[in-house]
């Protein structure tokens, strides 16, 4: 530095190999908000191009799953859903569960699926998982609409379902579910870049997790029938979300403030850890992917 005037230059930013322990540059994410929206648009527009049924596919999957569950778990296995029609009971659980898995599956492949773009251009990487969560929210909206339709049908048939004051908090519950899927997905996506073992794990892991998440049975039932293993479900934050969903929408089951608080805490921790690991990975993943 023999020219003193050079020191006057103000640097806009600097690249170094050292990581800050935690960096979530929200200002930068905000600058790229248009990109987020365009990614969402891309996801929504292109998924069902060159299909005949188009967005109807969004509806077919939960409907058929609910029908199958109703036949297998309620009609054959005889799980009692109380006063609520089993089909509606299953549809509520599946709709919310689907949102979680869609977020998890989508985000957990962030680095792999976008290696092409990430290898060439810089933008805040977190835009991609965020856009997945948002575009899945639209998909969830469509699926929720169909749930409302069936809800109306059963309601006028005189089924003992109803809403209560907690229903107002349902959007918050969905946000929590999305954040949980996002955090977990980012965490896994980072591990997958180097060790592909994790992508195998997530394939069947999610399936197994569903059985632990009270999707097709009431939480109280598992405690009653399987007292020794019931705690597995009780420690699963997803189970509380599903159970609470049914309480909010169908007025069935129980709402546990303790359980929700626990879920909230887990969500925050998972999200922070996810962002942390994601940040560490994004800097040099392109060398290992």
């Amino acid at each position: 530095m023999n020219q003193p005037e050079q020191t006057n230059t103000t640097w806009l930013f600097e690249i170094t190999p050292k990581n800050k322990f935690f960096s979530l540059n929200l200002k930068e994410v905000w600058q790229y908000r248009d990109l987020l929206l365009l990614f969402v648009k891309r996801d929504v527009v292109t998924v069902y191009k060159q299909t005949v049924l188009g967005p109807l596919w969004y509806l077919i999957q939960p409907l058929f799953t609910s029908i199958t569950f109703t036949i297998i778990f309620n009609n054959v296995a005889g799980i009692n859903t109380g006063t609520v029609p089993p089909f509606l009971f299953n549809l509520a659980g599946i709709t919310v569960w689907n949102y979680f898995t869609a977020c998890l599956n989508g985000t957990s492949n962030t680095f792999g699926a976008n290696a092409g773009i990430f290898g060439k251009v810089y933008f805040p990487r977190i835009i991609v998982p965020l856009s997945i969560v948002v575009s899945n929210l639209l998909k969830f909206g469509i699926q929720f609409f169909i749930f409302i339709c069936f809800y109306g049908y059963y309601y006028f048939q005189g089924a003992a379902i109803g809403m209560n004051v907690t229903t107002l908090f349902f959007p918050l519950l969905i946000v929590m579910m999305g954040v949980l899927g996002l955090g977990l997905g980012m965490f896994i996506s980072s591990l997958v870049t180097k060790y592909r073992d994790f992508s195998n794990l997530i394939g069947f892991g999610v399936q197994l997790l569903m059985y632990l998440s009270a999707v097709m049975y009431p939480m109280a039932l598992i405690k009653e029938k399987l007292p020794t293993y019931g705690w597995l479900v009780e420690y699963n934050p997803l189970a509380y979300v599903i159970e609470t969903t049914r309480y909010m929408l169908l007025d069935v089951g129980q709402i546990s403030l303790y359980g929700l608080g626990y879920t909230f805490l887990v969500t925050i921790v998972v999200f922070l850890v996810g962002v942390l690991i994601f940040n560490r990975t994004e800097k040099s993943f392109i060398d290992t992917v």
């Binding site: 020219q3 005037e5 050079q6 230059t9 103000t10 640097w11 806009l12 930013f13 600097e14 690249i15 170094t16 190999p17 600058q31 790229y32 248009d34 990109l35 929206l37 365009l38 990614f39 648009k41 891309r42 527009v45 292109t46 191009k49 060159q50 092409g116 773009i117 990430f118 290898g119 060439k120 251009v121 810089y122 933008f123 180097k194 060790y195 800097k283 040099s284 392109i286 060398d287 290992t288």
Partner: protein, 419 residues
């Protein structure tokens, strides 16, 4: 006052060779263990120089080592180097795609990179939709794109197809559209890698012109990596030459291209020939040299090529002729040149000639030289078929934009008169 917009300090990048497996996990754990105890990464001390052809000692390799340079505002910096010299790694670090292993880079402005055009293009979406998506990926806001979209479409020359999915585009149209988006970016620093390799002559010219405009009138800085010497020469004010992950030259573009040609002589060409065993008459030695009397086989288009000839002539051959023939890669005979000893006062014994080929005459191509010493229709004294070979490299001839097309073997300056 120097207005430095980008400053790279001691950048190094280490890569691990081989496959990811249990061994990598062990190294990861070891590295992590060192980190926990606050010690330095143990694998940073080892590592070979990045030379692709030799077998290395270590699993680690330095793709870049101690790179230092500065770029001023408005400058177009060219980066040249052979395959594997580390150019792309450097650009990846500069464009924030990957982080350096050590060192730091400071930026005084927004960066946009154009490492490979069409990044993030989605085949299912139309040209217009892709302009928005690609523009946003490159860092533009929707508003910025909307205000420029007409210009972008016009520049790309794809107006007719703009509402067709880009998967139906030809590869040329694809590149045009992608470059058009990038050309209307307004970053302070634009990083461009090998875009000009594709696209036709007209578009290449347009692209180069646009880059010049960007830096001259827009005051923006361009980092440009290419193998195309002509484009580098036309565009860049300053050049960096990389070799084995290190900067070996930094300076003016003209000097840089000379340096590159001199240091990267392809071994397949023959620059000199010696035959000491001539008894009576014959060609003792031949050499291709440049202005500075250095033997070379690759010359820039505008460089002087000199053939040094040493011959031995005996008394009875003082009426002989000495000539050579130039043949190009396609076996076309370009020209023949000959002298008569009788007219040149050639002495009995050793004689030295220097033949200067006309500069800016041979079109870029590979050439072979055949020499003959003879008395016409009487005796063939010495004949050396294709004993020398060399290449004329395109470094900015007037036809460089037709590179790849056959526009002839030589440049001829005809007298064009407008009447």
């Amino acid at each position: 006052m120097k207005d430095i917009i980008l400053k790279a300090e001691n950048i190094s990048k280490q890569y691990r060779l081989g496959q990811v497996g249990t061994g990598t996990m062990a190294h990861d754990l070891n590295r992590w263990w060192h980190q926990i105890r606050g010690k330095e990464n143990p694998y940073l001390k080892i590592g070979d120089i990045n030379d692709r052809s030799t077998k290395g000692e270590s699993d680690y390799v330095w793709a870049l080592q101690d790179i230092n340079f500065e770029v001023e505002r408005g400058e177009i910096l060219g980066i040249i180097g052979k395959n594997g010299a580390g150019k792309s790694t450097l650009l990846k670090i500069l464009s924030r795609v990957t982080a350096p292993t050590t060192g730091s880079i400071k930026f005084g402005g927004r960066v946009a990179s154009l490492l490979e055009v069409g990044t993030g293009f989605n085949g299912e979406m139309t040209g217009r939709e892709n302009i928005y998506l690609n523009g946003a990926i490159l860092g533009m806001t929707k508003k910025e794109i909307t205000s420029k979209i007409d210009e972008i479409i016009e520049f790309s020359g794809c107006e007719r197809y703009i509402d067709t999915p880009v998967k139906r585009y030809s590869s040329g149209m694809y590149v045009r559209l992608a470059f058009a988006v990038a050309a209307f970016l307004e970053p302070e620093i634009l990083i461009v890698d090998e875009v000009l390799a594709v696209g036709d002559a007209e578009f290449q010219k347009k692209a180069i012109g646009k880059m010049q405009d960007i830096s001259q009138y827009g005051g923006r800085t361009v980092l440009f990596v290419s193998h195309n010497m002509a484009a580098i020469k036309q565009l860049c004010t300053k050049t960096i030459i990389m070799e084995n992950g290190m900067i070996v030259f930094e300076g003016k573009t003209d000097d840089g291209i000379d340096y590159y040609l001199q240091s990267n002589q392809y071994e397949g060409y023959i620059g000199h020939y010696v035959n000491e065993a001539i008894q009576e008459s014959g060609i003792v030695s031949l050499a291709l040299v440049d202005n500075n009397n250095v033997i070379r086989t690759e010359f820039g288009f505008d460089e002087t090529v000199v053939i040094k000839i040493k011959i031995k002539v005996s008394e009875k051959h003082l009426n002989a002729h000495l000539g050579f023939r130039v043949v190009d890669r396609n076996e076309r005979v370009i020209f023949t040149s000959e002298i008569k000893f009788a007219e040149k006062n050639v002495n009995n014994g050793i004689n030295d000639f220097e033949v200067q080929l006309p500069t800016k005459f041979l079109a870029p191509n590979a050439f072979r030289l055949t020499f003959g010493l003879h008395i016409p229709n009487q005796e063939l004294i010495d004949y050396l078929e294709e004993c020398l070979s060399f290449e004329i490299v395109e470094t900015g001839s007037e036809f460089y934009m037709y590179n790849g097309n056959d526009y002839g073997c030589v440049f001829v300056h005809c007298n064009w008169v407008l009447r």
